[in-house]
Amino acid sequence: MTDATITAGGAGAAPRDAVSTYERHRAELRASKRVWNILFLSAFLICLALSIYISRFYPDRLAEGVPRIFEYFATILPDLQWDVLFDGRDENGRAVPGSLTFWYTDFWDYLQLLWETILMAVTATIIGTAVAFVMSFPAANNLAPNSWVYWLSRRFLEICRGIPEILLALVFVFAIGIGPLAGVLAIAIHTAGALGKLFAEVNENASGRPVDGITAVGGTWPEKMLYGVVPQVMPNFFSYAMLRFEINVRASSIIGFVGAGGIGAELNRVISFYSDDRVLAVLILVVLMVTIIDLISEDIRHRFIGKENF
């Protein structure tokens, strides 16, 4: 635009020409923008039509399905009665229908599974963070000792985080059998990939001066990382790892869907085989666990960051 005005002025043309050049240019811009808008809109509509066709998302199917959703949610509501709500078990060990004890018959089993879920998340987070910590230095482009190490570690981290963790869990369940170990390994690998990338970005933003200082006194590469970079990035690493822990608690609560341990297996079982109040009982416990862990982790993060004056 400025080009056109300058040439028009430079040629000594009347101001009228400059105006008409401007108007012409503006019309061109508007026309091209309109073309783009139409193209974009039609692409969008084509995508929409194709999507509806492919997933058979037709109004009649929806009209048929939506009432069933509400029916389903009605069936999983517990039938609680106020007068017997807090009644325990009688002498035969039977709970009164309508009481909380009746609703949460398997409460202690659930609690044990929830505990296992949290342990899985903690172990996977620690292992994943350790791997991410080691990989983040060669994967930071200012710290990598040479370009092929950088390239290799970047691709390694990409593969680790590219595969969905539940797929990894499926493979591990096949390889080493049903149980929490498969889930721990799957979540740890995914954590290593996701955190490794974040850690590498933190490393790239770290100041190079401490590293130069250690280079000047003859430090080796590991020493440069350990004494030059680690003290700068530790608070950030910790905060990211805690955030990841929150995500991992969620992940480990569903990874049991494929048999990889934790509350997920029970969740899958009650949803797939029963449609009664057990579904809601487990769901409530899972949501409570996730919420409580989030609150605790947030508290720890704030305290740690406060202490480090970050």
């Binding site: 194709l50 999507s51 998302f57 959703i69 949610f73 590219g162 797929l167 341990g261 969740l267 449609s275």
Partner: protein, 285 residues
């Protein structure tokens, strides 16, 4: 600087200095405090791995070999029903697209309801917010399973699962964006005597639309990722094909499907980055 001057510092001088400035030297207790968290963490990991039966890894070799073999040796490739596989991929994309679109449209309304500066009724706002918390608290995969129970196997359950979990997250993000806008434009529109809907259309929407678009695009990308695994619980898409082949022990086909999923995820990442740049300019993100 001569080395001699360093070696001239003898044990006696060091112990004198230690007595004079105890704070400058580490005590054994400091060492314990420094190393204790690491020792505890390592002990915990070892302990929990033993509890989780780490020894199984050693017994797994035969199955691992079978998996590794399936990665390289692909048998009967002519009978693999590629049409089936690529329909699954198309279904995954369609589910993510429809789910995100519905979630975006729903969040447009719910987001305004949950925003402090638009919805004056504190009670209604709290109800909407708590409801969104519940939607967000339950994982997408669980929603998938629930909808499979409610409406049957197939992509409809997947679309609904994506819609519900997006409604929870996007509405929250939208309402935060709405709460952070500049009041002046809203007051300007209101001063002309516009009704509440016109105020939202001309006062709020122009300010928040770029944020909305970029967040929805981001969710479209992440939903395409998660739609690939929604099929594991039977909610349609490539995941369903994956789990079928897995149950039928056709590991070479599983590996092929996984490669396709990875390629899909990388393409979507790239495409979404391009569209985002186009839609909201180079500066943001």
């Amino acid at each position: 600087m001569k080395l001699a001057s360093i070696s001239a510092v003898d044990e006696e001088q060091i112990s004198d200095a230690r007595a004079a400035h105890p704070g400058a030297f580490r005590t054994p207790w400091d060492e314990v405090k420094k190393w204790a968290p690491w020792v505890i963490a390592i002990a915990y990991v070892i302990g929990s791995l033993i509890y989780f039966d780490i020894a199984r890894l050693l017994e797994a070799s035969e199955r691992v070999l079978r998996l590794l073999r399936a990665m390289v040796v692909w048998e009967d490739m002519a009978t693999w029903q590629y049409a089936n596989i690529y329909t699954g991929i198309a279904q995954t994309l369609a589910m993510a697209f429809l789910g995100t679109l519905m979630g975006t449209i729903g969040s447009l309304f719910v987001g305004f309801l949950a925003a402090k500066n638009v919805n004056p009724s504190g009670f209604l706002r709290q109800i909407v917010r708590r409801f969104l918390d519940i939607l967000r608290g339950i994982d997408q995969l669980v929603w998938g399973l629930v909808f499979v129970r409610a409406v049957g196997l197939g992509p409809l359950a997947g679309v609904l699962a994506i819609f519900i979990s997006d409604l929870g997250t996007l509405s929250k993000l939208y309402s935060e964006a709405i709460e952070n806008i500049d009041r002046k434009q809203v007051e300007g529109v209101r001063a002309t005597g516009a009704g509440p809907l016109a105020v939202i259309r001309y006062g709020y929407l122009p300010q928040v639309l770029p944020v909305f678009i970029s967040q929805s695009l981001y969710f479209w990308e992440s939903n395409t990722r998660s739609a690939t695994i929604l099929g594991i619980v039977g909610a349609g898409g490539i995941g369903m094909i994956l789990i079928e082949r897995f149950r039928a022990q056709l590991y070479d086909q599983v590996f092929f499907v996984v490669l396709n999923v990875l390629a899909l995820i990388f393409i979507i990442d790239w495409l979404s980055k391009r569209i985002r740049l186009r839609a909201i300019g180079e500066k943001s993100h």
